[in-house]
Structure formats: structure tokens, C-alpha cells
Amino acid sequence: MGINNNVLGLIFASVNDSAVIDLTKQRTMGSIPFGGRYRLIDFPLSNMVNSGIQEVGVITKSNYGSLMDHLGSGREWDLARKKGGLHLLPPFSHVGGGVYQGRLEALNNVWSFIDYTKSEYVIMSNCDFIANVDFSAALAAHKESGADITMIYAKGFYNANKNINTNILSINDDNVVTEILVHPDMLGECNICLDMFVMRTDFLKKIVREAASKNQCSLIRHVLQGRKDEFVFKAYEHKGVYFKIDSLEAYYKASLQLQNASVREGLFSTENPIYTKTGDNAPVKYGLETVVKNSTIADGCIIDGTVENCVLFRGVKIGKGSVVKNCVLMQGTVVGENCCLDSIVADKDVEISDDRVLTGSEEYPLYLGKKAKI
């Protein structure tokens, strides 16, 4: 861990909410449950904390009740601090203004927070990329290169038909970003921008102020694209695993990838753990004649049936004789007896009564809304 106590972390909890409209109906992107016990915001937030950042602002837009509930005072991330710590920044709009449209506008709305910070650098991140990123190394690269903005990217497969809201970088031999394309019509291996940026606080203030004066709101369009000849943008490669949550299918596939040892180790290292709100659940209880294979299971579950290739969140109950395969069942889902479930994504507190048969498909998992009774 570097001593990065002069760095401000900024997390946009609501950017790209509309990509997974089912999951964000009652919550922000940042508060989407993931991996049995986490919420998406745990990843950028833990990455920041693990990089030594002690001051983080979380910028929200709407439906942020679950996010506030999850973050609380920030104690679980060691961010309940007198100096710095966690700041929740709900939308603030001037008289007559609406809720913000782009990140620059959002930053202008929380201007007093940004103006107040004494931190010299800013690292910003959205919540729709899941990765264990070393921000310390990215910051060191930024300081050394002297760039105005350093963008963190990863090499990965891009498909314009599936990956919406994705920004693709062209990078030259000197790691300079020569072009940034928003959702281009392409297919294949690309430099995928993780939408994580490092810059000096002074630089951020400058671009936010200038954008506000011109009534510009988008960081990508108005700065990274619009002013690319004026500034130096460099790229920093994240070499580990990452997932982008840009559809329910992507969410589902990323969840099931947790059964893969290299993915698990890449996301949850013991050196850089992912912190989350604790639920104080008892261990998982496996009953008589259970069959459980290749599954990720959070504490508090009670399993009396068959579970294969699933991700079960805290407090899920699987009744006797039920067979559950390829499912992601969120916190508090109760499956009755003798059910047969395949390729289901169940949101929180879904109840499935005895003898039900529900099947989705790998490409289109069947989504069951929060508190649905079936």
C-alpha cells in the first residue's frame, strides 16, 4: 500500500444505470449485489482504500437509498474518519436546474466538495467495471509521465452489438492515447477504457469550470474527445481480470465466472481484499442428502437440495428435493421443495413455492424481480 494520503477518490455510483434496467430499478449501479455478498461499489471503493486513499466522495443520482444503507459511515472500508473519510454526495442542482446529465456536470454540482479538498490528485471511477485495480501503480505512472489525464484500460474482447457504453482507446508506442471512441462499430480485441481516470485536482477543477462556462456536461465528449489535441492523455494498463456490467447477460456471466479459480483469485486477493458491509450471518448449513458442486455460497444460506454452478447470496434457502443449476440467487431468496430452477437471476427476497419449474437460457437468464412471489 502506498501512502497516497494526498489523493481524493471520486466514485460515480449511478453512471450507466440504464444498461441493466432490471437490476437498477430500485437501486444505483453501485448498489447492485454481486458475488454472493458484495455490491458493485465495493470494488472501486476497496481498490481506493487498498491504494491508501483516505478521502472518497461518492456521487449519486437517484434511487440511492440502498447505496446509503450499504455504505453507512464507511466504517467497513475504514473510511469513518475525522480527516477525509467517506462523503456521500447526492445530487445538488441549482434553482431551476435538473439532475445532472454527464460527469462534468455532476462534478460541477458538487463543486464545493471538490473545491474544498486539499488533495493534490484525483482518481475517479464508475461502478460498472468489476476489477481489483492497483490505483497506486496507476498514480505512480501518472506522476512519472506528466500527462494531464491517465486513463486505465484493459485489453479485452469488444462486440459493438453487446457492449454498450464502452469506450475504446487507440494508444501509440509512447502510451499516449491518440483517440477515444464511444461505442464504435467494431468486433475483436481492443483497448477497453475502464472509465477510471487519474489527474491533478487543479486540472480537474479547470476542466469542470471551463465546461460549466460552455454548458458542456460530458467528460468523454467534451474533454477526452473534444480537447484531445490540447492536453496529453496517457494510458495505464490493468493486467488482471475485469468484468463490465453492461447487460443482464453480462451480469449473469460475470457472476458464474466466479467459479473459475483464476477469476476468484484475481478479484479477491488476500493482499488487496474487497471490503463490504458485514451481515453477521452464521455459516452455511448443508442438510442431509445435499449435492453441491462448483458453486459460490455466502454465509447464512441453508441448503437441503442440489446446487450446481450457482452463486448464492446471504441467507438463501434451498428446500429438500429442489435442483438449482446455473442460477444467481440474491440475498434472502427462498426456494421451496422439489423445485427445478435453471438459468435464473433472482433479485432480493424472491419466494419460489414448492414444485415450481423455472428455466431461462444462458444468453437470456430469466430475471425475477425483487420480492417476487412465484
Binding site: F268, P283, K285, V292, K293, S295, D299, L312
Partner: protein, 400 residues
Amino acid sequence: MKTKKKCVAMLLAGGQGSRLYALTKKVAKPAIPYGGKNRFIDFPLSNCINSGIDTVGVLTQYQPLVLNDYIGNGQPWDLDKMNGGVHVLPPYQTSAGASWYEGTANAIYQNMAFIERYDPEYVIVLGGDHVYKMDYSKMIEFHIANNADSTIAVIDVPRSEASRFGIMICDDENRVTDFKEKPKEPVSTLASMGIYVFTWEKLKKYLIENENANTDSKDFGKDIIPAMLANGERLFAYEFQGYWRDVGTLDSLWEANMDLLSPSVPLDLYDTKWKIYSRHENMPPQYIGPNAHVENSMITEGSIVDGAVDFSVISAGVTIEEGAVVKYSIIMPGTVIKSGAVVEYAIIGEDSIVESGAKIGMSPECAENRDDWGIAVVGHNITVSGMAKVLPKEIISENI
């Protein structure tokens, strides 16, 4: 800020637990892992906060490092309070000299200043090595309703076991008429659970008198309660209904864990209305691998299981490799059971390694002589080599 508290809890956590040797060599008994996710001290601490008692003094003496670390600022139990909260109270030095806690009553006596700070009406004295869920506030209400000087929690035990406990003899109104410590021929089956509520002014008087009398024991069961009875004070027995288990021996530690796997045992750790909290590391959920066979067990977060687990309690961060077999056993946090190792009817301590091919414990059916059979125990931070065989009843406290 208002400092006065209605009731202060004093938790006796200094015991060595010598009969749990190998597990308590470097760890105080209240800090021993239990039930996958907890340590024993979680039970009284969680009961306190769930009962509305937010001021707890924890009296430590024996090997307090792990215990102190575990309690920390008390946050996992919501006992990090501006006023009150949990306070670790080790023995200390005064101008008159320094002394260890000589007995349970002496330990409280030495910390009277701590209690006085909160000016309580009642003090509840608790142990740190019992598994139970109990609403202390009901016991305190009972104490108040009876206008008692002391109330002792009791549980009805089988007559055959009564001689192991302190036994209360009561009249029809639950007033204690006599008390016998481990009687050979018990006349009652109401055993003391080691939980006492005292009216503080009364307790203070008896603690001072006991200290001045300078007995050898300075103990609640041996001195304070008999003295109060002799003086005709109002002592009442509060009968507890529910699951309660004393974990003084290795066998009872194993049994108390196995109880969690039994559907007939009324200790529900999944009840969200009375949670047993714990301090635990941030670990990802457990992963059960493609070769795993898991039945009748409890497994905790951070564990990776690809072997066979049956009738066992697996703590956090344990690895059970493909081809390893764990049956009727308790595996404490961070331990690795390698491929091909067999662990049956055993307790394996924290952060130990059981190498491939090792064989620990044996089922009672396989034992030639039933009298030679018992639980096999491996202590903390121990490596059991691939050639090793640990017999039933054997206790391993060094690498083999």
C-alpha cells in the same frame, strides 16, 4: 454526558481452560473458535447487547493477546460506545503493590472503581465459556420483581450429571435455601450456570467483607453465595429454558459443535432477531468445487472445499483439497487439509496443515477397544506430516 447505567456486566474471561490444553496453550478459552464463525466470548457479548446491556467489563488474565485483539473496541457487537461499551480489564499495579486476580470475586473486587464509574443498580456477572442465547433483561426483571439481593441463573440438568455442577436447592417461590458445590449425592437438579445478578450495593458489601476475610478462594460459588445465604439475604434461582452448554473439556467442545448439526438442538444461529455477532475478516464467500461432496455440515466464508465433508463444522478460510476426507470433525480457521488426508472424529486447531496421506482420528466403530476411543486433537499452527497417524484421544501440540 450521562454516565449512569442501570446494569453493568462483568465478564470473567481470565480462565486458563487447562482441560482444553493444546487449544488453550496460547489462547484464552473465551477466544477459542466455535461453530465455524464465532468464538465463545461472542455469546455473552451478543447476549449483553441484545438484552440492552451496553457496558461490559471483560476481566482477562491468562494469555490475553488473541482475546484482546478479538474484542478490540467492541465494534462487531455494537459495544463501541461513547459512554459505556466494552472495556478489557487486566490486573494492574497500585501503590500498595500488584496482584493477579486470585479468584472470581477478587477479580470483580479489584475492578470496583470501574463499576462505580457507572453508578449501576445491578451488576450481572458472566462467564466466557458457555454456549447459549439468553435475554439477561428478563433475568434482571425477575431479580427486581423478587426484590432479590442476588439472582442465580439455573438450568435443570439430568440427575446423573448434577454432581458436576453447583446445585441450588429452592423453595416453592424459587428462593434459594441451600447451595452445594459439586455434591456427591445431589438433592436437586438445578445447576448454577455461573450467571449472577446482584444488587450492586449488596455485592459491594460482600466483596469487601470477603476480601477482608482473606479466604484462599475469593470465589463467587465458594465464598460470596454461601456468605449471603448464611446471612439470610434474598437469593433467588432464575430457571433458564433453552440450550446451554458448558465447554470445559475437549469432548464437550466437540459435542457442542456437533449439536449445531442436529435438527433437534434448540440453538438457532440463523435467527435474525437474536444474532450472535463476531469479529471476522473480510473474506469472499465459500467456494464448493466440482469434486466436492458436502453433507450435514456447516461451512464458513473464505473456505474452499473440493473434498468430502460430512457431519463437520468448517471455520473461515479453510481449504479442503480434492480427495481429502473430513468426517465428524471440527476444523478451525485457516487450516489446510491436503488431498488424500483423512480426518475423522477430530478437532484441528487454527492455521494448521494436514499433509497428504495423514490420518487423524478414527470412528468409534473401528476402534478395537471402545474405552480407548475418543476425539483426536491437533493444536494451533501445527503441521501434521503425510506419514503421521494421530490416534483417538491423542492430543498433538507440536509438529509431527
